[in-house]
């Protein structure tokens, strides 16, 4: 897998491959393959319709609804910024932000560290490593709801895990009765479910490193640790950046694990922002307030993503 910096990709494509030489360069840039303009639109239109119907319109509708008092079956009244001001003094929402932030802080580093470790391990001359890659990817391919339901059975009071602990003379742990343990289960299941995908992406990044570079570093006397930090990490940094951005976005949006395993409890110890949004919209029937939560979540994710995009210049190497 080769990662190309997006802002330089256009130049490379137009300069080397597509743009013809000569005075008609400007016109050819717009229509590099020739033919009437509508052909281009015809290719773009299906995607554009999908984008508009499933992304743009719902997001605009959600943004507008955030400024209203709206229910699923009732009317809609414009309430200005009331919903957003209410969010600032809603302890349930503020708690959900804290819970989700804790989730992000633990889940993202754990996911990336385990994915990287597994990718490096599977880079070694291990027998059946391709099979192992498939096995580790299976949790990412299976439905989250099914995985979460199985984990619920494992960790309930008299589940397999506590029976095993009792069997070796330890006390059972209140996995689903204690808030801290419940959050740990939700994080653990999430990492287990998703590290396989990141492992494949990072593994592809590691595989793309030229053996000559590694050989040269060995000749120069670099040990394993030095090679990892000075050769592997810089060269795999585009893949690492890609997985980190997607993992952070997914972490802020986590829903199914808490919904299926704990329902947000005990108390509100596993109440993530998305779960609170869902309950507000579909259990409490407050569509306007839920839309305000969605807008705030969008802003939080946008800030984190922009921060990562800004920060990549300092640690991501594309050459």
């Amino acid at each position: 897998m080769t990662f190309v910096r997006l802002d330089s990709a256009e130049d490379k494509i137009s300069d080397r491959a597509v743009a013809p030489q000569g005075p008609s360069k400007g016109r050819a840039r717009r229509r590099p393959l020739g033919g009437p303009r509508w052909v281009g639109w015809a290719f773009v239109l299906p995607g554009l319709i999908g984008l508009a119907v499933f992304i743009v319109i719902p997001q605009l509708a959600s943004l507008i609804l955030g400024f209203s008092n709206s229910t699923l079956l009732g009317g809609t009244q414009f309430t200005g910024t009331e919903n957003f001001l209410r969010l600032l003094r809603d302890p349930q929402f503020l708690n959900s932000v804290v819970v989700t932030a804790i989730f992000v802080l633990i889940y993202v580093p754990a996911n990336i560290a385990i994915s990287m470790a597994m990718a490096l391990w599977l880079k070694t001359r291990l027998a059946g490593r391709n099979w192992l890659r498939v096995i580790f990817l299976i949790p990412a391919l299976s439905p989250m709801v099914a995985n979460a339901a199985v984990f619920r059975l494992l960790f309930q009071q008299d589940g397999v895990v506590n029976q095993a602990l009792t069997g070796i003379g330890l006390r059972p742990i209140p996995w689903l009765s204690d808030g801290n343990w419940a959050l740990a289960i939700v994080i653990g299941v999430s990492v287990w479910q998703s590290f396989g995908y990141n492992m494949i992406v990072l593994g592809a990044g590691i595989d793309s490193i030229s053996p000559d570079v590694i050989a040269a570093s060995r000749i120069d006397g670099a040990g394993r640790i030095r090679r990892f930090f000075s050769i592997t990490m810089p060269l795999v940094s585009p893949a690492l950046f890609f997985t980190t951005v997607l993992t952070v976005i997914g972490a802020w949006q986590t829903f199914a694990q808490a919904y299926v395993i704990t329902g947000g409890g005990p108390g509100n110890s596993t109440m993530t922002i998305m779960l609170y949004l869902y309950q507000t919209a579909f259990t409490n029937n407050q569509l306007g307030y839920a839309s305000a939560i969605a807008t705030v979540l969008f802003v939080i994710i946008a800030i984190f993503t922009l921060f990562q995009l800004w920060g990549q210049r300092k640690w991501v190497h594309y050459d």
């Binding site: 319109i57 079956l73 619920r152 008299d158 419940a182 704990t262 329902g263 947000g264 108390g267 309950q279």
Partner: protein, 423 residues
Amino acid sequence: MKSRLAHTRSRGRVGASIVVAGVLALGLAACSGGSSSSSGLDGNTLKMYTWIGGKADKQQWSDYIAGGKHADPKMAVSFTGPPIGDYYTKLPTVMKGSSAPCLVTFQNGRVNQYVQGLEPLDALAKKNKLDLSVYSSAMLEQLSVDGKLYSIPFNAGPTVMFYNKKIFKDAGVAEPTNSWTTDDFIAAAKATTKDGVYGFAIPQGSNPISTLMAADGYPWADKNGARFDDPHFREALQLLVDLSNKYKVAKPLEAAAGGTFPDIDAFSTGQSAMEMQGLWDLQHEQQALGKDNVGIAVIPSKSGTSKGFIGGSGFGITKTCGDKQKAFKAIEAMTSKDGLEFVTKSQASVPARLDALGAWSTNAGSAEFATVIKQMTGDAVPSPVPSNQAQIDTLLTQYEVNAFSGKSTVAEVLQQVKAGLAQ
């Protein structure tokens, strides 16, 4: 040249604007519902949206439709829907959508939250001369909001105590009588708790609280909502916590997703001797444990004169239904004496009409069961269903776990639920 280029750009903008407007219109059209003479019908067939969790639910609805056809051969109803855990979440979206059904169903009288999308049925009942006195008055009250009836009941689901006869016999415990007390219940639960089997399985949410309160004659809610400040509310939740923590006759509740029934799972797999559930669960338990192995008793009360808590299910008509008269005739057929008696041949759920109870006793239940049901439905505590019932259940399910783990007292849990509702 310049003006031609500008003209081309302008046309391009117009074209792009038309495309964007078209896409927006398409999206808005997809989102909006409407009403016409064919809304909610597929030809002559009325569309019904209901809960379908598996084969048993499918069979149940097929049987009610067959019962309706038995009473009125012209009636035609088709049905779709998700499992009960998702039903009430999806219902408003479906009622608002462009393909809204004509008929919807409600369990435990939960119409309050959906009345904005429902047709009041009083005028249709009067026009069609439907005698409403044949239904339990407590049930009709539950299915009404602000004096308007929104749903006609088809089954009466009083909550009763299910017990496993074999476990009782093996433990040498006498089967419950219809005058047993809370102390008798605790004693029976203690005696049947052994060898990994608990005496009782605690249900989640508000239903066990409302049932225990009703047994002693206290409604759990009034027109202002759930009565969290009523000391009997606190006592009912405290009893549930004590069954686990003090008497050690039940598993403590753990964090769980809403719409799950760990108590039913425990009882139907023989891991608990008793469960407190609506009679809708009878057929499932009989299939799991054997028809002769499942007994039912009234809910234990302090005095021994238990009153019932009714959670009847009913059919409603959506406001967008294109042919409300046809929909009402279908409901009338499915809830007629003939129709409900027909259903008792294959379903154990108790008919909502008192005049069909005899057929149920013969076909699905027994004289012993009929005695329990008559006591539970005949002397039921009228109890309105709060419009925020779903929110109350969600919050109770989340916070009551803390009372079982000892992290909070029952009073603190109720305060936390109240605070959650106030947001």
